[in-house]
């Protein structure tokens, strides 16, 4: 099928197939792809572009799993750089968080073999005592599956107990690539794709919303990516519990895949666009600025994305793998990025409730502002002055 035929099919509201997804992945004209995805994004969300005031937290980087892309985990607690916080440290971090507008704590951990389940329950209960209004979005599907196996519970039992302790939703990390051809090579000793999805299904069944991700740009093929998207779409048809899909770009520092090149900005934009077009039942596509860089994340708001994630404040998983973006962005910086993309900034809570919708930029038009560096050629500089 040609791009035009796929575009017509999509505009007619017909669901795109595996072959369509593959054709979109292979489409050479990324502007065309972006324009189609942008149509869908605007149909679903208009100019609204979401962000939140959140903090990232990692309570432990000790992890039994040996994922080849990971630069964050330490296999054992006594290894250099291994760290597990105390409850008091974790509670203080939230209590001391300076922004009174904080709405979300987002926690992802290693799979620590030595911590009892009650340790996690008490961690959540303490946070709720400190700041009861902050939404706790904690534990990936991989962590939930690990708890279920280690402590002899079902996914639903794990989640029900954590919910009782204060858990409100789950982040999307740990999805990597579901297909076993890839997963058994990059993440051989943690939850399979099916087990990850089963944990999310269980969350949805007890009324808990979750996000979902894909780690792309390493050893997987386009076929694996499309297969991953379709598995997400299938579960969403069943449960409607996913709020947001977040494509995560592979980073290559300090891990055993360091000889692989990272995905480029164009690859990132392509991934955002194809995700928007294939995941017709997922309300939001996030351009996670920590993963793809601030500039590309902003441009992605024209290629299908409608969410930039949040202030983050202190992220270590991507930074361990070579991310050079700042550790956090301020609320004002996020608002400016969105406004200058010609969109409407909307501060949201974790479940996409609107905290505040801000006005769009008053004068969104671009004008020629570039300077020509070549001193002997004046024409462009004259134009710049006249058009501004």
């Amino acid at each position: 099928m040609t791009f035009t035929e796929i575009a017509d099919k999509h505009r007619a509201g017909e669901r795109l197939s595996y072959d369509d997804g593959l054709a979109l992945m292979l489409e050479p004209d990324v502007l065309k792809l972006g324009a189609l995805a942008n149509e869908t994004r605007e149909k679903l969300n208009g100019d609204r572009t979401y962000f939140n005031v959140n903090m990232r937290y990692e309570a432990t980087n000790v992890c039994e799993a040996s994922c080849s892309f990971c630069a964050f985990a330490k296999l054992e607690a006594h290894m250099p750089g291994a760290r597990t916080v105390t409850h008091e440290e974790a509670w203080k971090a939230l209590a001391d968080f300076p922004d009174p507008k904080l709405t979300e704590l987002h926690m992802v951990n290693g799979l620590h073999p030595g911590l009892p389940f009650e340790w996690y329950e008490e961690l959540l209960r303490g946070w709720k005592r400190v700041r009861p209004n902050v939404h706790l979005k904690c534990f990936t599907g991989v962590e939930i599956h690990y708890f279920a196996e280690k402590f002899g519970m079902t996914h639903k039992e794990v989640l029900t107990r954590l919910k009782a302790a204060g858990l409100s939703s789950m982040p999307g990390g740990g999805a990597e690539i579901f297909h076993p051809e890839v997963r058994t090579r990059i993440a051989p000793d943690k939850a399979t794709g099916e087990q990850y999805l089963a944990a999310h299904r269980a969350a949805h069944e007890i009324g808990m919303k979750t996000n979902v991700t894909m780690l792309y740009g390493h050893i997987e093929t386009f076929e694996h990516r499309v297969d991953h998207l379709l598995k997400i779409r299938e579960l969403q048809d069943e449960t409607h519990g996913f709020q947001c899909f977040i494509p995560l770009a592979f980073h290559n520092e300090n891990n055993s895949l360091h000889k692989l090149p990272e995905p480029t900005a164009i690859d990132d934009l392509r991934m955002i666009s194809v995700s928007r077009l294939m995941l017709d039942n997922i309300p939001h596509i996030k351009a996670y600025w920590v993963s793809m860089g601030i500039d590309t994340a902003q441009i992605a708001l024209r290629f299908g994305a409608d969410d930039l994630d949040g202030t983050i404040v202190s992220e270590t998983i991507y930074h361990s793998a070579g991310s050079t973006v700042p550790m956090g962005l301020t609320r004002d910086q996020l608002v400016r990025l969105i406004r200058e993309a010609g969109r409407i900034p909307v501060e949201r809570d974790t479940e996409y409730g609107i905290v505040e919708e801000l006005p769009r930029a008053s004068a969104p038009e671009a004008s020629m502002k570039v300077r020509e560096r070549n001193a002997e050629r004046k024409s462009l500089r004259v134009l710049a002055g006249a058009a501004s």
Partner: protein
């Protein structure tokens, strides 16, 4: 016209068909047309700039050192972090590149400095009208890593350009040598 149905439709909806037609002559647009484009959707502006670039400058991306770029007479080097209030955002930079392509007669290429805007934006600039990259590519990890060693860096840069659907030509290469690089987008898997 070197524009697909989707872009043509978007240009028509924006009532910019006359501007696009003038742009495709490659003579460079005037201030009135540029002002109209400044109010248009980003992807429409990018699409017109990309179509103009493809028609008049082809698919080759010239890679120059800063020293060679200063001596070149057939490129316009853009200074993209100048006096914009509070610093330009990524989208702002890309729109400026597209408008520069549309303002400049096509006998001149549009060059951006990778050191100035980073490899990430430089690559994206290639679909917003740019056709020349300037940089020494020695230690330029701003957001994308370059492997160690000159040949490895060259290989990685060629890959970066190829992933944008274009073919690299380094300053010390003839067009014939550049043609030996795998040309443009080849449906290669990541």
């Amino acid at each position: 016209m070197a524009m697909g149905r989707m872009l043509t439709g978007a240009i028509e909806r924006a009532s910019l068909m006359d501007v696009a037609e003038r742009a495709l002559t490659g003579k460079g647009l005037g201030v009135v047309d540029l002002a109209r484009l400044g109010r248009a959707d980003v992807l429409v502006v990018a699409g017109i700039a990309d179509a103009v670039r493809a028609k008049h400058r082809g698919h080759e991306v010239l890679v120059l050192t800063a020293q060679a770029a200063e001596l070149a007479t057939d490129i316009v080097i853009l200074d993209l972090d100048g006096d914009l209030a509070a610093g330009p955002t990524g989208q702002d930079v890309l729109v400026q590149i597209a408008l520069a392509r549309l303002a400049t007669p096509c006998k001149q290429g549009i060059a951006v400095s990778c050191e100035q805007i980073g490899l990430e934006l430089s690559q994206t600039a290639l679909v917003f009208g740019a056709d020349t990259l300037i940089g020494d590519f020695v230690s330029s990890k701003k957001t994308l890593p370059l492997l160690d060693g000159p040949q490895a860096r060259k290989t990685e840069l060629m890959g970066l350009i190829k992933r944008s659907g274009r073919t690299a030509r380094f300053q010390d290469e003839s067009p014939a040598e550049a043609a030996t690089h795998s040309s443009a987008w080849t449906k290669e898997q990541p």
